[in-house]
Symmetry: C2
Subunit: 251 residues, 2 copies
């Protein structure tokens, strides 16, 4: 069995619609690649009790948990304090991180607000990364990342070797134009029943030129099962009289 991952997005700016999230898909794709697929995402507000309760629930339920957002120097950056509380440890100055920040800003400009970026839960390991001086951190099975996508991605790359890995999740996709989902629902279900360990999905689309169709996707970790199911999916499309195409059809 592959290890499971979950993501907690901490951010009023996503819930208000101000910002289009760009982190969920990045993490979804990369966690699939390392075989620790994303099983749940929660987007929650910057509220102390909500963050603590959510971290506690998710770290008990999943093998590894990521958080994004709320680790800067402002009053709404409360993730580190909440994660400390979830783990029942104090939030304290991480000396090595404080030294790096002080060097960066200069002793005069290493203000109280900036010192907050060096406050980590006791026992946490900073995620030193290529983009930001202020680190993310890992504690137990929880990895705390920035909300800004460029910084988050750099932190994910930095922490990747420490993550739980499994068999990569692979996929096969067939596209077919001019068919309704409902026309292939029964035959697709019979493929799903034959390969219960695969995850088969059906996604209707409409292209910019107005043409409609369906994408049929098989996902799983067993390449032989995937190839066999992919062959059956190709056949069930052909049985409707339409042409199955691997990759998005151009005409």
């Amino acid at each position: 069995m592959n290890p499971t991952s979950a993501l907690i997005v901490i951010g009023n700016e996503i819930l208000s619609g101000r910002t289009q999230d760009a982190n969920i898909r990045f993490l979804a794709l990369h966690l699939g690649e390392i075989g620790a697929p994303l099983k749940e995402v929660r987007i929650i507000p910057d509220v102390h009790e909500t963050i603590i309760a959510t971290v506690n629930e998710m770290k008990a339920r999943y093998d590894q948990v990521f958080t994004t957002g709320g680790i800067g120097p402002t009053h709404d950056d409360i993730t580190a304090a909440c994660v400390a509380e979830a783990f029942g440890v104090p939030l304290e100055l991480h000396v090595e991180t404080a030294n790096l920040l002080e060097e960066h800003y200069g002793t005069d400009q290493f203000t109280e607000a900036r010192q907050r970026m060096a406050m980590l839960p006791r026992g946490a390991k900073p995620i030193v990364n290529a983009v930001s001086i202020a680190p993310g951190f890992s504690i137990g099975n929880v990895h705390v990342l920035a909300g800004v996508p460029r910084i988050m991605q750099s932190m994910f790359e930095a922490v990747r070797p420490e993550l739980k890995h499994g068999a990569p999740v692979l996929s096969r996709t067939w596209y077919a134009l001019n068919i309704y989902e409902s026309a292939i629902a029964d035959s697709l279900e019979s493929v799903q029943k034959r390969y219960p360990d695969l995850d088969l999905g059906s996604y209707p689309f409409r292209r910019e030129d107005g043409k409609r169709g369906v994408a049929l996707v098989a996902k799983g970790t067993d390449v032989h099962e995937l190839d066999a199911a992919s062959g059956l999916i190709k056949e069930l499309i052909a049985a409707t009289g339409e042409t199955p195409v691997e990759g998005e059809p151009k005409s």
Copy 2:
């Protein structure tokens, strides 16, 4: 107090990273406009027990709940059955909807898979909309919408008059170039303390030309408080020596 909204995104395709979600931000913005702001989002897989448990938890916790995804004719479209089970009612053929679908497809082509799109929880009210023949539906405080953004948006417009409304959430945004968040964190916190009912956020950005800055956003329902806080935010930016700009700065 404004009514609260929550969203359950049902979809393996978001969790696998195949699809970039486009529904969360649409609903976040529109629910803010009608004064029923989004307080939590959960993205969960197409798993029967998970959907039922999540619907039960969210409908008890929030004033209104939306779901997106899983209402088509394929084997992974199990939202209607799960919502029925969450409400303890049978899933049954909705005669009016079945008649519309049969008329659309023709009696010969009204297959078993297509009949599934007319199966609604007993007591549910279909969300008849401009784009799809297959409706969404409302039951209790839960509104079940499609996953395809164009259809979801049409269903949202159709159900909007039935939703719980409150005072619209308004916002004021100031941008400032060349300042670190950490340089204004303390003064921003003092504005937040003065107006505890507003939601103040600080969002660092980097433009395509490489220039960096911070967006400071105040949100709330009281226009007088908002204007007063906005004035203080303008002043705190000016105090750093930088120029506060309403709307994204061009130079």
